[in-house]
Amino acid sequence: MDVRRILGRESGSTLVIVALLMAAVATLSLSFLAVLRSSQQESEGSRENLSALYACEAGLTAAVEQLTRGGTGAIGNKYQPQEYGEQSYYVQATPMSDGRTALVSVGRDDDARMAVEMVVQRRPSGFFRWAAFGDEWVHMDSNSRTDSYESDAGTYLSQQVNGSGSNAHANSEGDVASNGNISMDSNIGVYGDANPGPGGVVTGDLGNISGATTPMPNSVDLPDVIVPSIPNTGNKTVTLNESLSSGSYHFNTLQINNNKTLTVNGPATIVCENMKLKASSNLVVNASSGPVEFFIVNDFVMNSGTTISSTSKSPLDVSFSLLSDNVLDPGVDINFDEDLVDFDSNAVLYGTIFAPSAEVTIDSNFELFGALVARRVDLDSNCRIHYDEVLATVDDGGEATYETLCWRVVTQP
């Protein structure tokens, strides 16, 4: 066989094979590059989408901030978006009913665009935002309870439809809070949040709190009690059922004797150096023409079985502001009389209590419909505070907050 001839005949096929191989490798490389490029583009797109989403979130945060300050919530527009680093956003705000606002934030990063809709609701700004607030601390003994109801939506009993037995409650806005710590014995019930101060903690039975236990971002400053200047007319003891017409009064000691009723017609401002409701007595406020404000300088005693309420049973109608300081002066002194702040068992009060200098101990089985703000709050076992949510809607000039009702990614407008 002529080897050279054979080799010469096959040399062309090698070239073809090599060429085919090279073509295959080139095709594979191109495919690989295409996949890599596609993956890179996908990754880039995903990164940009995420950045666009962050821009949306920034827009929503800014919009809520603007709403809080009294603005509309709208920021920029499609043609003049708000710059946000290398991204941008704009927010459209649409007012809805019941104080709700729909915010649609559109974020953009290069070609990526994302849109997020969030519905927020204005939260009340009233001073009484908690069932119980203690400037220094709050302590809840076993079986004490806080919950909430709405006084303008019917009686508390008609709203007490959740839970059963000792856990029966109405709504879950019965927050407790403090600038310091909150401690809780076993079997308490907080149908709401328990927010300690910025450096404070909640200790004890945390399992029976329905809401959050996060610390408040800032301490709450309690204003001073400014007692109106009204001439003192001496002592007043209610020995028979009687009425006070609307106006301003200043008593040295206002005492309502056992089983007697004092009716006060509003609007009225009543300053008392000391106030004492003896057992089973009643203080009724007729607030059809206006509320009644009480200012107590020293002792405030509600004996067992007493009731303070307005004819409409609205806590907005009766307010107590206490100057009493029983921490500085726990006993008897010739300079300062003992400041007794005492809410005895089985008594009922519809109203608000503000005692920035006093340690207020609510006795067992006492029932408060309204709110309590004091220097220190000690809730004895089985006492109940039913926070009236209407109090929070009273606009006292405080800064409103907004609650998020829903959040979703939407198609771009």
Partner: protein
Amino acid sequence: MKLARPLALALLSALPMGAGVGAQQPPAAAPAPVETAAPAVLPPAPPAWTAEERSAIALLRELRKKERLGDEELCARLAVAGERLFPLFSQLLERRAIPPLADATGLAGGEVQVLSEVQEHVILLAIANLEREFVLARLPGAAALTPAEPRQRLAAIGCVGAVGRGNDFPLLFELALAPGESEVARPFASGLRRAAASILRRDERAAEQLVTLRRITPRALLPILVAAVGEARSPRGLAYLSELVAWNDDLVVEVMSQVCQVGRSSDEALNDTMRVRLRPYLDEESPGACRAAVRALTTLGDLDSIGALVTLLGSEDAGLRENALWALRELTGLKLSASQETWARWHQAELAWYLRSKSRDFQHLRSNDLAESASALRELRTHPLARAELRTTLPELLRHRWPAMRAQACSTLAELGASEAVPRLVWSLEDSDKDVARAAHDALRKLTGENLPLDASCWQVATHTQPRGTEL
């Protein structure tokens, strides 16, 4: 509050009004328990205090007024008489009342005052100025005290708290829980908590002492000591809390609550141990423990719990959702909305970056190329998961060849709250570039809260920093 009247009545009868305490031995305390004694009121006999005692009593009675001297000034005035007033202080604490000064000193008079918190605080501050040995030697021995002498025990607990050290915990325990007692009465519990917290604040080794004593500490005292550790707010207490989590499961909720007050330890290994021990409690099946764990792990800066927190955002428990959102915002510094989807997306992206790009970015950060290094720093600042590593790496950048990078490192350290970098920043005040020195100065002011001038020696003294070596 309701106890004030009966207590006052009891005290009126118990006070020995016949002679100055300096001239006589204190009489036996009322035998009844602290909260139940209510004997009849006896008319006070004319007092016969020494001049120093009269002056101290008058000063203490003045504390009922809203406008009064500062605590330090009051203590200084009470400390003039030194140890001679200790018997009076001890007696006032036992009786929990300030006696009247019947004659006209012009300062005070009238009736017995129930001891207020302010008065008790000032008395204890005055006792704290005395020698520990002197005070402890004059306390009745714990073994001699029986449950029938609660006032003496309560006063003794206060005194030990005022002057004691870690070594005095056993004495404190015996005073709070006498042999044969199984429960701690409420006044003793609060007395022990205050006293233990006071010792923990005063003595740096006291927390270690508690760890050593853990096995022999009566079970009934442990929750009170946990509260005391929290009240002392010293990160040294974390070791004790960690021990308790390991050995006392039933105290875990109390311990987790107090972690927030104690804060992170300077020992990172201890922080890690605590994080690992607490992480399993991020379980919505136990909402109480879960709430406490969320706060504790946030305080400990546990980034490894982010996944579990994102899961909690989908919990049916609204409170847990709110706690989890708060924790995520605290841990990451991001203000994303409450949507679980948003946080999950972010977390996924963050983890992807952590695995794929973190090392490269840190490598670029150390680069000598200004643009590359600055770009890496910009990128790293946006990643919460890299924050801890960034804090430890940034001090190296204070020696970067480019001043702009050194200045950036200063401001980023301040932004991250890296107080451990204070000495290095103090050295940077002497940087040859004025902008770097200014940035270091701003960072120091932010980190320390001090408002000192841009002068390295000033800051060295204020922050106890050694003078700059040659290595920077």
